[in-house]
């Protein structure tokens, strides 16, 4: 790697940026993974309410897709700067399957629009909308599995000799199933809270109050159930991790402490969600739950990083990678980021104050 230009900033700076954008990516990505699935289930339960819930859920999917991709791109950028050897090698070993993500993503995204149209059209049989939901779900879960495989191959250099001719062996990895479940159930928990905020937003905009309250309740129930289940799966996942991973996760380094804090917040989140369920009219509990959810996610992102650095090995120390700081380009970026975020806030305020839409 010494042939390439040095990393243009302290590696830890880039690593923290990576954590930040990845966190936001996860928040949107989880919605994309679970919302079409939940919509599909609501459509099963027939009835007008089910259709309405499905409509509300799918309405936000394209926007969530867009920001999943946008923040995913940023995450990949920083990963490539820090771990090019690992990352591209994993891409190449996955080969056509890795490139296949592009096609899968495009089909899934267009189906999100199609599903919206189909649900909104009362003439069209519900079966079609459910089919669209199924297609999206299969594709996005497939993409999640490929992303996970890429992460796994990138970290497990010792497995490269086997993986090079049989890349599907990653599936046989003992942590594959719990990992995937961890992502899926986590997505349900996050989407449950998204539902809570979507319902408030629609209520503010003059949506039907009774239905929106029911929707919010559903969201809380889903979040609670998924969080409870997640704790079980999380323990299972943890038990499958090799003892070295345990040592790293409990090593007391800063990222490992963040992870432990995240786990604690995850446990507390369950309690907060139960309180929110018991007092559905008190928005404060929903706010606290969202706060704890973010704290949990931060912990999980940190834990992922701990495992990655552990797997990459003792000979690799992020902080000691050679770098040469490109000060001016970085400052330009920082400045434009601030300007961009302020513009974004102004734009969001515009929508927030928008008059009601006549339906």
């Amino acid at each position: 790697m010494e042939s390439f230009p040095p990393i243009p900033a302290h590696p830890l700076l880039i690593s923290h940026l990576l954590g930040l954008v990845f966190l936001i990516h996860v928040v949107f990505m989880n919605y994309v993974v679970a919302a079409p699935l939940l919509a599909m289930i609501y459509l099963r339960a027939k009835g007008e309410a089910g259709r309405l819930f499905a409509r509300w859920l799918t309405a936000a999917v394209p926007v969530a897709f867009t920001f999943t991709i946008n923040f995913g791109v940023a995450s990949l950028l920083f990963v490539q700067v820090l771990y090019p050897e690992r990352f591209y090698t994993a891409n190449i070993l996955l080969g056509a399957a890795w490139l296949g993500i592009v096609g899968m993503l495009m089909v899934a995204f267009y189906f999100a629009y199609i599903m919206q149209k189909w649900i909104a059209n009362p003439q069209r049989s519900i079966a079609w909308s459910r089919l669209a939901g199924a297609i999206i779900t299969v594709l996005v879960v497939g993409i999640a599995a490929l992303m996970m495989s890429n992460y796994f191959i990138a970290t497990e250099k010792s497995q490269w000799p086997q993986l090079v001719s049989q890349p599907w062996l990653v599936v046989k990895n003992l942590t594959f199933v719990p990992r995937l479940l961890h992502i899926l159930i986590g997505s349900l928990a996050v989407t449950g809270l998204w539902m809570v905020w979507i319902s408030w937003w629609r209520q503010r905009r003059g949506g039907p109050v009774a239905e929106l309250q029911a929707f919010r309740r559903q969201g809380l129930q889903i979040a609670t159930g998924a969080t409870g289940l997640q704790i079980v799966v999380g323990v299972w996942f943890l038990l499958w991790l090799p003892s070295a991973a345990w040592d790293a996760l409990f090593s007391g380094t800063f990222p490992s402490m963040v992870w432990i804090g995240g786990v604690a917040c995850g446990l507390l989140l369950l309690g907060v969600l139960l309180a929110a369920l018991a007092n559905p009219d008190k928005i404060i509990w929903q706010r606290i739950a969202t706060g704890f959810l973010f704290a949990t996610l931060i912990g999980m992102v940190a834990g992922r990083d701990v495992i990655r650095r552990l797997a990459i090995g003792d000979d690799f120390h992020l902080a000691s990678l050679p770098y040469r700081f490109q000060a001016e380009p970085f400052l330009t970026f920082a400045l434009l980021l601030v300007v961009g975020l302020v513009t974004l806030l102004v734009l969001l305020r515009l929508i927030w104050r928008l008059p009601e839409k006549k339906e």
Binding site: V102, E328, I351
Partner: protein
Amino acid sequence: MLPYPQWNMPLAGGAMVIAAISIFHVVIAHFAVGAGLFNVLSEHRARRLGDAQLLRFIRDNSIFLIYLSFVAGAISGVGIWFSIGVVAPEATTFVIRLFVWFWAIEWVFFLLELASGYIYYFTWDRLSPRAHLAVGWVYAVSAFMSLVIINGILSFMLTPGLWPTTLNVWQAWLNPSFWPSLFMRTVSCLALAGIFTAIIATARRKVYDATARASIVSWGGRFLLPLALMPLLAVWYFRVIPVASRSLALGGAIAMTMFFLFGVILSFLVSVYAYFGMFRRSTAREINLETALLIAAIAFLATASMEFVREGIRKPYVIMNTMYSHGILVKDAEKLNREGVLAHAPWIVPDTVHYAGPVAIGEAVYRTQCLRCHEIEGYNAMVPLIREWNMPLIESALNDLHLLKAFMPPFIGTPEEKNALAIYLWTLTAEGQAWPEGPPVFDRDSTSTADSTAAAALTGGTE
């Protein structure tokens, strides 16, 4: 210094995978940039003139933009990135590392572009005209800025300018071909936006009557007129690019010259059509969907040709004078000539299952330096190029590969490796195939054994 394994698309070649995705992306992305400017300028005009039809049209255009550019455009952009990472990981590592902060800036504009694009559409008729126009400007500026950023990185690869000596990344970005290529791209963005107005207006005949269509298409036609500058911009561009690249495009390689002329002439013709067919209201009224699509197809071909030339004339480099197309850095060549290219390509090991002795080594050397540009059969295939060759011809070709065709890097590696490659190439010729002992076993589909031995060697070995 080839630190990565290889991925190859059999027959088509990896480069074609990149090219296919890129062309698709470039056209959509250029449209997205042009449409941003088109929408906001048109909205100013429509509000000034009180033109309800035009307003309605911009609204149609802005949802079309979301469907096309936020999905197919954004994802194919990711697709380019995925494919270059897999096919040309060395060059990708290089430009990512060098330009991280520029990519990050690009991302900020991308984020703004997406947010403002959605809001622009969702707030139609619900914001004050002033506020709505402001949102439109945020979109137009951020989309355009994302073009500006990426343009600097792409043009760097052809004209690194002062960067190799100063290592100043600003000079790398604001390089000699930055401005002409930015102008060329901007002109083509505006043109694509103009062409799409004709498509959308004629595709929705039920909504826009003949008068409305005439006025919309005629307004859209103005955005094509700058295309007439394309020949001049091309001259400017060719003044700043390296002599070797210029000569490739201007006759040195006839395919390049043809594509280049196609690109320039097609662009010019489209602008002529825009003037006579779209700009003038009497004819704008007559334009139909079929014609509009035909013009779009021509513009697509023009864009594709120009991109093809831009990529082509950089050969034998992927980054001019710095990295060869196969991923070896120019400064490493001498070392590799001494120590051997295979010694520094841990993933590329001789396939001793299908080949024996020097043929196995030669085949591995082939994968290090030739496979990126020559499939055995298929894309720029090796077999037809050398079928009738004999050993002396092959040897002298390898001695002066870079003189034989300006597209090719010189051979890199030890004399033994060169020799082995010559023997391997010879087994592909008619003479080699007819050799009494029979042609060596040849089965391209199973290189996996070789790769896994490579990986074993690389990681300390489990076999």
